[in-house]
Amino acid sequence: MIVKMEQDSSVEEVEILIRYAEMSEDVERIATMLESATVRIKCSYDGGEKLVSVSDVYYFESVDKMTFVYCEKDVYRTELRLYQIVDDFAYMGFVQISKSCVLNINALDLINTLPNSRMEATLKNDERVYITRKYLDGIKHALQKGV
């Protein structure tokens, strides 16, 4: 893939053109990633607020009716509920992996099996989260679809 960048002071918004010979899963994935890079959610931390790019989120976790946003190193809070996250960001590769966790499959490195048919996902920052077996099919389908 060749990435070309061009400065044009006359344009008001960043414009990205993807030129391809044939539409493929990879092309679709690149387009989705570019789109998701501009989707931001309002997050709070230690009294402050920040807009976090959804593509930077590794996973969302719900604890005591509060939703936490886990990025590579930082943790924030959001007002969004897990069901809203699944509904709104599934096309970006967010899949539910347990009752309380929604994972960005782009941050997923590998899955290990544990005793009693449990699983553990290792993320690209070496963090580990549990996967419940009933959500395994969802992960597989998302990967097969090439989200």
């Binding site: 009752k99 009693n116 048919s117 009933k134 990967l143 090439g146």
Partner: protein
């Protein structure tokens, strides 16, 4: 649904094999009318799988709690059916519960093997995706 029916039939079959083994080894072969055993065992298995579907919704950080809930439920169904259909005159209650635990462990290993297969498939997809 198809998978659930298959599981019910499989565990019913396994239960009957165990029951038949007990009957033969204890020379009860001509005492127990088979039809009187098959249907209750089948219904008990339906009830067990329906209940396990519900208990499967319970998620705990400690896997032992989930297993304990499953085994307690299975034992309860067996005790109720055993009391209703007079199974305890044949086999002591503890031996029926041991049978249930044995079947649960067999099921657990089968489930683990299936999950391991699915996890391998997912890891291959991830590897392919990450290479791109």
């Amino acid at each position: 649904m198809k998978r659930l029916i298959m599981h019910i039939l499989a565990t019913t079959g396994l239960s009957l094999v165990i029951v038949a083994t007990i009957i033969v080894t204890r020379s009860y072969l001509f005492i127990i009318p088979f039809a009187g055993t098959v249907l209750p065992v089948f219904f008990a298995n339906i009830l067990i799988h329906a209940g396990l579907f519900v208990t499967g919704k319970f998620e705990s950080r400690y896997w032992i709690l989930e297993s304990l809930l499953d085994v307690t439920y299975i034992a309860t169904v067996i005790i109720i059916f055993g009391w209703q259909y007079n199974w305890f005159s044949l086999t002591p209650i503890w031996s029926l519960i041991l049978m249930a635990v044995f079947m649960y462990i067999v099921g657990l290993f089968l489930r683990m093997a299936r999950i391991r297969g699915e996890v391998n498939e997912i890891n291959k997809l991830l590897e392919k995706r990450n290479k791109k």
